[in-house]
């Protein structure tokens, strides 16, 4: 189990350019497998273009209390990139005027940004319809100052989306670190206690499942049933929906794939599972991703690969939706992760 980020370890794959090189060479450069651009050209979908903007996803920083094996952000306690109050203020200006209906806060652990509560309070005054915080659950139990997060979330009607790779201790701790399972269970019970995730409750609690290894997620509905039965039976925990998310081959997950000699097989699985109908709803078509330093990206993955939007406007301070929406989405081979099978997005399957 890793305890520091690739960046801290000064690993080759901490470099976005190196990741993109790997994704463009080898099996994608010797005609074994088609590049993503070639694949979507064949179904008349290149270049991929944005549709109506629905989700503004803001990454509040790469700092996290966990160091998960699969993390595409390469987040961890040693990451110091945190969104400043000034940039948050610029985000608020954009939220005021955007027709986007969902505000999605992610990280790292977004709660670790020192301005997190202030920002939530300000943003909620602007009346966004669906206000998501992607919480890793353990943060709620990490330090006394976070113990009241369930009440805080409730006060602002935050939609909580949390990672939970498996309903068993072994598989969860293997991916997310020792002790994560027990802390996550405790956090879920506390969220249930204030009303989150209960049947019919407007306090939405959804879980994210992503495979703990070099394989694709199974059927989202079947997994949801299994998660619900197991968490209810073993711990009396309830939640609303399960989002099954495919691990994209970037950052730590790419590092793992290469180190375990699974990279080629995994890419084959993704390409074989390519489903053109997912292209209608892949998240880059309805989302804009904002990085901790205010730059704009087609998605959180392109953010980690440092692929800024292909627009003359690249920063939240110069935001103009009309100009931004008139752009081509940047693709590379990692995009196969969002188009495999039933598709994958921060909202789960898309097809």
């Amino acid at each position: 189990m890793q305890t520091t980020s690739l960046k801290k370890q000064k690993k080759e794959l901490a470099d976005a350019k190196r990741q993109l090189e790997i994704l463009s060479n080898g099996i994608f450069n010797n005609n074994e497998l088609p590049t993503f651009a070639t694949k979507i050209k064949a179904v008349g979908q290149f270049p991929l273009r944005p549709k109506k903007l629905e989700i503004l996803q803001i990454n509040l920083g790469y700092m996290c209390n966990q160091v998960c094996e699969h993390c595409h952000v390469d987040a961890g306690p040693d990451r110091k990139e945190i969104m400043t109050k000034e940039t948050l203020q610029q985000c608020l200006e954009v939220i005021k005027n955007t027709p986007a209906t969902t505000l999605d806060l992610t990280g790292g652990a977004p709660e670790m940004n020192p301005h997190f509560r202030w920002f939530v309070e300000e943003a909620s005054k602007l009346g966004i319809k669906d206000f998501i915080v992607r919480s890793n659950l353990t943060i709620i139990r990490a330090n006394k100052k976070y113990y009241d997060l369930p009440d805080f979330f409730k006060k602002y009607h935050i939609h909580v989306v949390s990672s939970m790779p498996h309903w068993t201790r072994g598989k969860t701790d293997q991916q997310r670190g020792k002790g994560v399972f027990d802390k996550s269970i405790k956090a879920l019970q506390e969220l249930n206690l204030v009303g989150y995730g209960m049947p019919g409750s407007p306090l939405k609690l959804d879980l994210v499942y992503n495979p703990s290894g070099a394989f694709l997620p199974g059927n989202q509905d079947s997994m949801e049933k299994e998660f619900k039965n197991a968490l209810m039976e073993d711990f009396g925990i309830q939640f609303h929906q399960l989002f099954a998310i495919t691990n994209l081959p970037i950052a730590r997950f790419l590092d793992y794939l290469i180190a375990s000699d699974n990279y080629e097989d995994y890419m084959y699985s993704l390409v074989e599972a390519f489903n053109a109908s997912t292209l209608e709803n892949v998240m880059c078509t309805n989302t804009l991703s904002v990085s901790w330093d205010g730059y704009l990206y087609d998605c959180d993955f392109n953010q980690m690969l440092k692929l800024k939007v292909a627009s003359k406007l690249k920063h939240i301070s110069e935001y103009n939706e009309e100009v931004l929406q008139n752009r081509n989405i940047i693709v590379s081979q990692h995009c196969y992760g969002c188009t495999a099978g039933a598709g994958s997005s921060c909202q789960g399957t898309v097809a």
């Binding site: 068993t168 290894g213 394989f215 199974g218 079947s222 080629e264 097989d265 084959y268």
Partner: protein, 112 residues
């Protein structure tokens, strides 16, 4: 010297290519194969475990790779997978041992 082996894990990726040398039969096979593993009176999950057990009995390394991965994707636990393998192994060893009766019969017949 190049590695020479009858089995190469990469060959599994090329399975679909058998259709190139006999399109009709290949296509029929893959259609049939796909249909077999759909949800039916048995769930796709149950069929995956049966396939895993049979993979071991017919000692097909490609099938073992494929159905271990399929099981992981379906959230099947390693305990379930190992029990399935034992079910296959028990039938296979039983099939050997039940021939012991034939041996006993023959022994008795030949003996005074």
């Amino acid at each position: 010297m190049a590695d020479k082996t009858y089995y190469d894990p990469k060959d599994l990726r090329k399975f679909g290519k058998i259709t190139e040398w006999s399109e009709e039969l290949g296509t029929k096979f893959f259609d049939y194969y796909g249909k077999v593993f759909e949800e039916g009176a048995l769930s796709a999950r149950e069929k995956s475990l049966i396939a895993l057990a049979v993979s071991h009995v017919v000692k097909c390394p490609y099938c073992i790779d494929a159905y271990t991965k399929d099981g992981l994707q379906r959230g099947i636990t390693k305990e379930e997978m190992m029990e399935a393998v034992h079910a296959g192994a028990a039938i296979e060893s039983g099939a050997t041992l039940v021939h012991g009766v034939q041996m006993m019969n023959k022994y008795d017949k030949l003996s005074m």
